[in-house]
Amino acid sequence: MKKAIALAAAALMAVSLTACGGGSSSTAQTEAQTQAAAEETQAAASEGSDLDYVKGKGKLVVGVTDFEPMDYKDDSGNWIGFDADLAAAFAKSLGVDVEFVEINWDNKIMELDGKTIDCVWNGMTLTDEVKSSMSTTNAYCNNSQIVILPKDKADQYKDKDSLKDLKFAVESGSAGEEQAKELGAEYTPVESQANALMEVSSGTSDAAIIDSLMAAAMVGEGTSYENLTYTVKLNDEEYGVGFRKGSDLTEKLNQFFADSYKDGSMKKLADTYKVSAALIEQ
């Protein structure tokens, strides 16, 4: 009896061990594995063409975060926004379905390389870091990094030089963090741009540096940050879409951008979501 229990225990532990390794004995997962394996052979056969991989599985998985006006949900839970609508149109042009998956922004490169998503299309600033870890498209939208301050202090900080003594909060790994470094100011990296605003609002930091497109939606009348305002614009930068390194979808999307800019559909979308002032000619 003792031996029987020991054996059963050993068997179950073996199962839990393989589960640790990422597989499992359940049929559903075995199926998933076979499918994934099949997909891989397919990808390998075509020398890792991302286009064939996406066409093979019949859908383009787009990694997004909730970010008005680029990607956000409408009342019935469907993804809309300038980026979301454009992504849907791009998928349609490839003849595949589009699937939006909300990701943790810090993990975007892992999501891409781990193939849980096929592209990052979410108002992503083209920083050196992004460009070195992804295959990025041409820029399609202008953006800038701007300084957020409490309203009552804003008058004292009108230019770059006056900012040096402030303690900043910035999103970890964001373009705002690069700007804070460049300023030579003291700063705290926090989890998101929204958290950076909370730092300023609660007084734990003096100021924040965030995207101007985002600041327009998040600060001022009708938000929880009525006491905050934005002042100095620190730089000009651009948004792009990121694919896996070496992906052939990047070229495909550049072409799509050019076509839809030419026929006016891109401009029309930009008007719908009020970002046409920031749109870049393709």
């Binding site: 009896m1 003792k2 031996k3 229990i5 020991a6 059963a8 225990a9 050993a10 179950l12 532990m13 839990s16 061990l17 589960a19 640790c20 990422g22 597989g23 499992s24 997962q29 998933a32 594995q33 994934a36 394996a37 891989e40 998985v61 990694g63 975060t65 909730d66 970010f67 008005e68 956000y72 949900k73 009342d75 699937e99 998956v101 909300e102 990701i103 943790n104 993990n107 892992m110 999501e111 390389d113 781990g114 193939k115 849980t116 998503i117 998101s192 741009q193 929204a194 958290n195 605003l197 909370m198 609002s201 985002m214 939606a217 998040m218 600060v219 009708g222 938000t223 929880s224 940050y225």
Partner: protein, 228 residues
């Protein structure tokens, strides 16, 4: 204030959906971890040395590393290291990966609690059972088990309350539980942007749920009180 009243139903709706996900993870973890913990406990108490070593090493690794890292490894490693994204990118895959991580993690903690509970039953009872001609499994089922359950209830209750709150760790792999839902209003979601209060409001959900859990577990403890 008008603004707040206008936002309240929208926020409630979104937080409820998030909290359902939290509860789903909570229950699936308990259902999986209770039995698996017992298996690991038997493993670590096994007199067959290799099995007890394996069980102890597993418990050491799982209890010795952060659950957050375990979530990241389980979800991303299949795609990153083995180039097979077995979980897929969708919500279901994320949930499955999170549930398996939580089950493995919590069963290791449970196993140690079980072991303590089993070993707290006096050895004399086992010897008495053997003298009466009972098999070891009969002794476990008829003599040890209930006493063990009574002994482990307080520490297990502790783990259950911790689990309710630990589910929020799953947001690292973008499982949209209630904190994720609350935080999304800071950036903008459902037409509300720049709102901080929903994030802090989520604490009420945990508080109420843990209140219910505390009452239920207290009742269970009372029921087992005659048994001493």
């Amino acid at each position: 204030m008008d603004k707040f009243l206008e936002q309240l139903p929208i926020v409630f709706g979104a937080l409820n959906i998030g909290f359902l996900q939290t509860l789903k993870l909570f229950f699936v973890t308990l259902i999986g971890a209770f039995p698996l913990g017992l298996v690991i406990a038997f493993g670590s108490m096994s007199r067959f040395k290799p099995i007890s070593y394996i069980a102890k090493v597993i418990v050491w690794i799982i209890r010795g590393t952060p659950l957050m890292i375990q979530l990241l490894i389980l979800y991303y490693f299949p795609g990153l290291v083995f180039h097979q994204a077995i979980w897929g990118g969708g919500e279901n895959g994320r949930f499955t990966a999170a549930a398996i991580s939580f089950i493995i993690n919590y069963s290791c903690y449970f196993s140690e609690i079980y072991r303590g509970g089993i070993q707290s039953v006096p050895k004399g009872q086992e010897e008495a059972g053997l003298v009466l001609g009972m098999t070891r499994s009969q002794i476990f089922r008829h003599v040890t088990l209930l006493q063990m359950i009574k002994n482990i209830l307080p520490p297990i209750s502790n783990e259950i309350l911790t689990l309710v709150k630990d589910t929020s760790l799953a947001r690292i792999i973008a499982l949209q539980e209630i904190i994720w839902a609350g935080q999304s209003f800071m950036k903008g979601s459902h037409g509300i942007s720049g709102a901080i209060w929903p994030l802090f409001f989520t604490a009420l959900y945990y508080l109420i749920w843990n209140g219910i859990m505390t009452v239920l577990l207290g009742k269970l403890e009372k029921k087992l009180e005659y048994f001493r």
